[in-house]
């Protein structure tokens, strides 16, 4: 047992050391694979170690020696918890702390990051594994039951993803995934796991009611899977209620602006106010409709991010012609700009559907779930071999990527990461800029902390300065990199709100790119 605990602790430290080296040296493919293996090994090691500890005094069964000893059930449970905290979480905490300190973060910040991850691991992994182990007699039984549950879960999730994944109906599969609201589902799953673990441990250690406990665990597992179907609207409504500065987005309006004319495919770089990208799955066999929009009510140095846009097109007969989601949309207002910002919002429509309805006069209704950010801080870092510690952002480095066409920005922070940032490449002497990238994927969670492989938060972005196909030419190119810098503008969340844009009559063919 002690050897096992030592082995799991060693994996943690090797992983932490590996991550430290990978950051320092630039993660090579071999090291990355090794680290991935170590991560899996660490997870399995933790799970097996906890199970082994619980199975030393198994709950199910009638032959265990401890049942006839003067052992208080509470003491037994506490001893198991103590083992988990000291022998399982202790090394994880220590390796997280080591990583934080080795990477030069202050002691307090490193401790906070390690504690935060430890709490997440306890609630989301260790206690549920303990509870599951308490339902089984030995490791063999746990492996068989665990594999069965994993297989059933995987099949159900795959089935739900294939049936509901592309659905725009009332029930969607994991609609918050890949948005800032993803924490709602994560938190629901964490809560279900923790609650189920507490109840199962209570039933087992204080009542030894294995059959009811197993039934409860099965129900909790179903509820856990159902959290993948949490609808978008209630999730975002919760997010709205948790807005840090509610009402600051009340002046923001979204309007259809046909005067902008038809979208012309950009030659060279796109406008700094126009960042269009498609969510995966929309471009394949899709026709992109570029809707001209006017965004008003943005204050200076604010960014508006569309977390989700639900598009509904209705024919003259009142029948739904298309329902789906629009592409990403970010609207920047840097400094004291115009009162209104003109943008294009792309909506991918399957080619078959498009061909059927492209000439029809349709009614479009787009429900935007929006987040308003305000500028919090602005930093600059050399474009080449930049190595800076930025307050609130962390330790950031820059380098030219392996293809030689992008500047790679890598940042690492101990604990809570920044919400979002816009980054652009600027030639310092001339002030010329390349297009801005929005590095976000922010989790709007009202708590900090994560259960990931370590306590470090890493993010990266690529800023192109050369189009290898030769189609685009960037204002700041490779020759100017030595005199250039990356400007990092850090934004914090202000408000979450929704806007509904109704276009009474629209003909799709008028809004495809020229």
């Amino acid at each position: 047992m002690w050897f096992f605990a030592l082995a799991v602790a060693t994996i943690q430290f090797v992983y932490a050391t590996g991550m430290f080296i990978a950051w320092r040296t630039g993660e090579g493919r071999g090291l990355g694979t090794l680290l991935n293996l170590l991560q899996v090994g660490s997870f399995l090691g933790v799970a097996f170690l906890i199970a082994a500890d619980v199975h030393l005094d198994a709950i199910p069964g009638v032959r265990q020696d401890w049942l006839v000893r003067p052992v208080r059930r509470l003491d037994l449970l506490l001893s198991k918890l103590l083992f988990v905290v000291v022998m399982v979480q202790g090394p994880i905490f220590a390796s997280d702390l080591f990583q934080g300190l080795a990477n030069g973060f202050p002691f307090k910040q490193s401790v906070a990051a390690a504690v935060s991850r430890s709490v997440f691991l306890l609630a989301g992994l260790c206690l549920p594994v303990m509870a599951f182990a308490a339902l089984t007699k030995n490791t063999t039984e746990a492996i068989i039951a665990g594999s069965a549950i994993f297989a059933i879960g995987a099949v159900l999730v795959a089935l739900a993803a294939s049936l509901l994944g592309g659905s725009a109906g009332a029930i969607q599969f994991n609609p918050t995934d890949d948005t800032g609201v993803v924490w709602v589902g994560d938190f629901a799953r964490l809560s279900v796991s923790l609650l189920a673990a507490v109840i199962v441990l209570g039933l087992q250690y204080f009542r030894r009611k294995t059959t009811p406990a197993r039934s409860f665990f099965a129900c909790a597992f179903v509820v856990y899977l159902l959290t993948l179907l949490i609808p978008w609207h209630p999730a975002f409504a919760l997010q709205e209620r948790l807005s840090p500065q509610p009402g600051t987005g009340s002046s923001v309006q979204v309007a259809f602006d046909p005067t902008q004319g038809r979208f012309k495919s950009p030659q060279g770089a796109v406008s700094s106010n126009l960042i269009l990208s498609d969510r995966s799955g929309l471009t394949q066999g899709n026709i992109q409709i570029h809707l001209p929009l006017n965004i008003s009510g943005l204050a200076n140095d604010e960014v508006l991010n569309a977390d989700k846009s639900e598009v509904s097109l209705t024919g003259a007969d009142g029948r739904a012609a298309f329902t789906g989601t629009g592409g990403d949309m970010q609207v920047f207002k840097e400094g004291a700009g115009d009162a209104e910002t003109r943008v294009r919002h792309s909506v991918g429509i399957p080619a078959i559907t498009y061909n059927n309805i492209k000439d029809q006069a349709l009614r479009a209704e787009i429900r935007y779930s929006l987040t308003l950010f305000r500028l919090d801080a602005s930093y600059a870092i050399p474009a080449l071999a930049g190595n800076e510690r930025l307050p609130g952002v962390g330790w950031c480095t820059t380098k030219v990527d392996n293809e030689g066409d992008d500047i790679s920005l890598h940042c690492m922070q101990a604990g809570k990461r920044m919400d979002c940032a816009s980054v652009f490449l600027e030639h310092t002497p001339s002030g010329r800029r390349n297009p801005e990238a929005f590095v976000c994927g922010a989790r709007y969670a009202p708590y900090s902390g994560k259960a990931g492989p370590d306590a470090m938060n890493r993010f990266s972005g690529s800023l192109p300065f050369l189009d290898l196909r030769g189609l685009a030419r960037y204002p700041v190119d490779g020759a100017q990199l030595a005199d250039s810098r990356l400007v990092l503008r850090v934004y914090v969340v202000q408000d979450h709100f929704t806007r509904v844009l109704v276009i009474p009559v629209i003909t799709l063919k008028d809004w495809v790119a020229q």
């Binding site: 009638v62 020696d65 049942l67 006839v68 003067p70």
Partner: protein, 297 residues
């Protein structure tokens, strides 16, 4: 010391215990006997709170078995063939582990028991033979001088030598403790038990003191002056009557020294001689088991 009232235990559709009631007096050596599957182990597991009863209740050392606390468990020694001790620990390590749980643990007694039972303290429990493990269980149950010692089929699978060692170890330390022993090894109980209860298919057929039991059972041999035949109507209490030549044999379950001859003569004609012999516990047990089986059939 132990009092069971209308105890039921159901496993699915099978009633392992069916309204069991019995009482174990303080200071007694109470034997639960019965064939395999009679419910002896289930009864013991219920009173140790390893299983919860479906109905009824048991009090052990004054506490409801369902709420038996470490205070009571600290005064109970438990030895069972169905006891999984930590296989990876050595004998010594396990005793080291147990000691702090029992404030009244007597280390000198522990050493003496280990010597007497000849247990290898440095050997892992997983490497002990079945007999050694039973002795180990006994060695773990005696050093804290429990008020109640529960032995569940302690002799099962033990060779005669180990049995003797086990029994010597047990009897030497028994002192004033109350012993509840379940077994179908009747020869081992004979001479140890002061009280006996007979279980059959989850029911208690009888419970009484050993002296009363052995006192009321006699194997009766009746010599007749002619060819013997089994009477159609037998008095209640006469079991297993057989006729062979001019000899009639049966088991008298309500034996009283005076008046046996008259009672026999009242039922059987041509009686020359009546001879009543005390029975061993084994014979009593098999007689009762057969009677119960025949009644069931």
């Amino acid at each position: 010391m132990i009092k069971a009232e209308n105890l039921w235990k159901r496993f699915g559709r099978f009633d392992a215990l069916q309204g069991l009631s019995f009482s174990v007096p303080e200071g007694s050596a109470y034997a639960l006997i019965g064939a395999n599957g009679a419910g002896k182990t289930t009864t013991i597991k219920v009173l140790m709170n390893i299983l919860s009863p479906s109905r009824g209740r048991v009090t052990v050392l004054g506490a409801d078995s369902c709420r038996i606390s470490p205070r009571e468990l600290g005064q109970i020694g438990y030895v069972s063939e169905n006891q999984d001790m930590p296989q990876r620990l050595t004998v010594e390590e396990f005793l080291d582990y147990l000691r702090p749980f029992y404030p009244q643990w007597d280390c000198n007694l522990e050493s003496s028991i280990l010597r007497q039972l000849r247990l290898p303290s440095d050997r892992k429990i997983g490497n002990l033979s079945h007999g050694m493990r039973m002795k180990m269980a006994l060695a773990c149950a005696l050093p804290y001088r429990p008020k109640l010692l529960v032995l569940d089929e302690p002799f099962s699978g033990l060779d005669p030598l180990v049995r003797d060692e086990f029994m010597e170890g047990l009897l030497e330390q028994a002192g004033e403790m109350t012993i509840l022993i379940s077994s179908h090894e009747l020869s081992e109980i004979d001479g140890v038990a002061t009280h006996i209860a007979f279980l059959d298919q989850g029911r208690m057929l009888f419970e009484e003191s050993m002296s009363e039991l052995t006192g009321r059972f006699r194997e009766v041999r009746v010599m007749l002056d002619g060819v013997a035949s089994v009477p159609r109507q037998l008095p209640s209490g006469w079991l297993q009557m057989k006729a062979c030549g001019s000899v009639l044999t049966f088991v008298e379950t309500r034996y009283k020294e005076d008046g046996l001859g008259e009672r026999v003569r009242a039922v059987v004609a041509g009686v020359c001689n009546v001879d009543a012999k005390p029975m061993t516990l084994r014979s009593i047990f098999t007689t009762l088991a057969r009677a119960a089986r025949d009644a069931g059939a």
